[in-house]
């Protein structure tokens, strides 16, 4: 059981975009997202002797979410402003008219409980099944669906409130 380099690169090409989309909604800094994705794969590669290629993607997801959590903790310690107007542009292809919606989404997502937020983002972007999301987050499979539903309803309410404001 050892991870091959081409398998790692294939995983990177497969997961880079979904990882970026999930992480960006947590970190709101493009550069930080890139660093977390990169560092996740480097860490997985450093443990390649113990990595099973069949569970590689799940391991990368878990590692990336943990690194993102650590980065948020560092930001709290350093009193870092976790978002600025420039970073809200998101990716290289973000359009100017997306800016307002992104800002409103950011405000609404911040008000969601962290657990619900992660379930919602993983459901939206990861392409993982409910069971796989449960495994990545370490929660019961049944909890995923309920949290996802609650998070979506709450988000819609918050977005409505934001739009009305």
């Amino acid at each position: 059981m050892s991870l091959r380099q081409d398998a790692l690169y294939a995983s990177y090409q497969r997961l880079e975009r979904p990882l970026y989309n999930v992480l960006f909604r947590q970190l709101w800094q493009a550069e930080d997202c890139q660093d977390v994705i990169h560092d996740s794969y480097v860490r997985v590669w450093e443990r390649r002797e113990q990595v099973n290629e069949a569970t590689l993607d799940a391991l990368v997801w878990t590692t990336a979410l943990n690194l993102a959590k650590n980065k948020r903790r560092w930001r709290v310690l350093r009193r870092h402003v976790d978002v600025d107007d420039a970073s809200l542009q998101g990716g290289t292809d973000a359009q100017p008219h997306d800016f307002l919606a992104t800002r409103q989404l950011h405000e609404a997502l911040r008000k969601l409980p962290r657990a619900s937020q992660q379930v919602l983002l993983l459901s939206e972007f990861s392409g993982l099944s409910g069971d796989e999301i449960a495994a990545v987050l370490g929660i019961p499979a049944g909890t995923v669906a309920s949290r996802k539903h609650q998070a979506m309803e709450r988000l819609k309410t918050l977005m409505g409130a934001t739009l009305d404001a």
């Binding site: 990169h38 998101g90 919606a101 989404l105 939206e124 977005m159």
Partner: protein
Amino acid sequence: MHDDNRLFVELQPPAGGLLRLQQSLTHPHRSMRQRGLRLAAGFVLAVSVLMTIWQLPGVIVRQQQTAALTSALRAAIAPPAHDIQLIDGASLELPSNDPNVRLYLVQSAGSHAPAENH
């Protein structure tokens, strides 16, 4: 979920991520060297902090002792009063039971010449 909302705009990650990963994996010695340098710098910093913490109480005590000695010496060589001038010597005021009587121990510097009083 995708059909009933347009909340989540699909973002495109910045280019060059895979290339960066490939470079990191094909040149691990570079990151290892950087990590080694960081570890060495951290070690030096930690040792410096520990040495400072270890030395600090002694330094403070020595400074306090020096300050006490300096103030005692200054008190010893200070002129005894405005109406008495001491030339080429030192004096130390001694306790007196009578408020109208002041006692001084006077020591001339170098010679045995007596102190001059005004």
